[in-house]
Amino acid sequence: MAKKKVSKTIDDINQRIREGKVVVVTADEMAGIVHAKGPEQAAREIDVVTTGTFAPMCSSGAFINFGPVQPAIKASSVSLNGVPAYAGLAAVDIYIGATEPAEDDPLNGVHPGQFKYGGGHVIHDLVAGKKVELRATAYGTDCYPNRSLKKRVALQELSSATLLNPRNAYQNYNCAVNLTSKTIYTYMGVLKPNCGNANYSTAGQLSPLLNDPLYMTLGLGSRIFLGGAVGYIIGPGTQHNPDVARADNGTPLSPAGTLMVMGNLKDMNPKWVAGVSMLGYGCSLAVGVGVPIPVLNADIARFTGVSDEELFTQIIDYGSDYPKGEAVSLGTVSYAQLKSGTVPFNGQDVPSVPLSSYVRALEIADLLKEWIEKGQFLLTQPVETLPAGKMGMA
């Protein structure tokens, strides 16, 4: 008699977590399990698959409230360690963006600029327990008479600090090359002339959204690992675009879904929120994101069992096409090929490297696995899953 098909709920899995019976594996491990046992048996044996990614994620930043201040101030211009923050909010609310450079940064005045300190570094310094200098000016009102403020603040003294990243954990990303005859400095790293290197940025088979390609389990309210603490997916990130060409396994062949995430900055660890200086490009913040995928059925087991051989991206010329806004695919390449160290392109073997740290991604997936196994982290049912676009209209 055929075995009944596996069908679990998140409540079932949470009950197993509480009982200490949950079986958790990383997406790396799941690839081998599904390959060896098939998706149905894998779904029977495995409850949760953990994923991870650690890379510069420019669309990141933190909401900070630095009040109360005496006398009261309605700040109109604010900087932290000389990095401007957006102050067009209530009196003492600001948003410090990851890519904001310091006011006195020479930028690309001497090209390529070094971008030594910016918003991402401020966030990292705060999380690392360092005091930062807050400067604020105001025009003064009857209720908020204070016109200037200068003080050194530490993260734990702030009334609130929330990391809220509009777009993280891109589901797939371009592989960048440079077909011009000059070195270029991009957000995809330094690209040598004449296709001297190929830079990509993903954790591949460990990457969160490549393990739930059709957004069956993730959405508003999904509890995740964010910056070393517990955080949440709060919806699709900006530029979330499910309607792209996909492989037979459901994974997109080009950039597609994204996550908007938030978490309490005060709980985070500086190892997982690191300031970044991209030569000739700008500042950013490297963020550690780990997402647990509940293995509710064989379909989800199959999706989480995907391996680098089955994941593909497009080669894009950042020397000429991308800057013109005319990025066209110059070829499709698998992550297994990219990870091997070289990709064949235009008759040459081009050295390839990830800008995303696989070591850190794996560490995140392992940490999240440990949290779940120890019963410290329960899964949540999203209030609304991420938009699936035309796929969801079938």
Binding site: G189, V190, G196, N197, V276, V353, S357, V359
Partner: protein, 136 residues
């Protein structure tokens, strides 16, 4: 054949002399300039790799000293700060000698000082400031 990495400090009087030319043509040394900063009429500093047999290296050194050029061995050039390094591999394609390399099994980036020619390509490229240059 021996190789020596050296820092050459040129006094103002020699800055406009073709000293490197003489090292190559008269003393048969292979000179690989790794870094040079020269202010005409002031001073110069060249980090170079000199390759030759013992006699060539000795005679070349004598020539440099006769011209008032100070020679110091180059040591402890590039420091790879492992605590800061996330193994993002941004530096790897820019390292001309493979001194900074990634193990494709563990994905850990490491620095092999023996292969390093102190070209400094890695220093500014590292997004995490995990590679620094130190001259001694």
């Amino acid at each position: 054949m021996n190789t020596k990495k050296v820092v050459l400090s040129f006094p103002p009087s020699t800055v406009e002399d073709p000293i490197i030319y003489h090292l190559i043509m008269d003393y048969g040394l292979m000179v690989n300039i790794l870094r040079a900063s020269i202010d005409a009429g002031k001073q110069g500093r060249v980090v170079a790799e000199l390759k030759g047999d013992d006699n060539q290296l000795k005679n070349g050194a004598n020539f440099l000293e006769s011209k008032g050029v100070e020679i110091e061995p180059l040591t402890e050039e590039i420091r790879h700060i492992e605590e800061k390094c996330t193994s993002c591999t941004s530096c790897v394609p820019l390292c001309p000698t493979g001194a900074l390399n990634v193990d494709r099994e563990t994905w850990v980036v490491s620095h092999d000082a023996d292969k390093c020619v102190v070209c400094l390509s890695c220093v500014d490229v590292c997004p995490y400031r995990a590679v620094t240059a130190h001259f001694q």
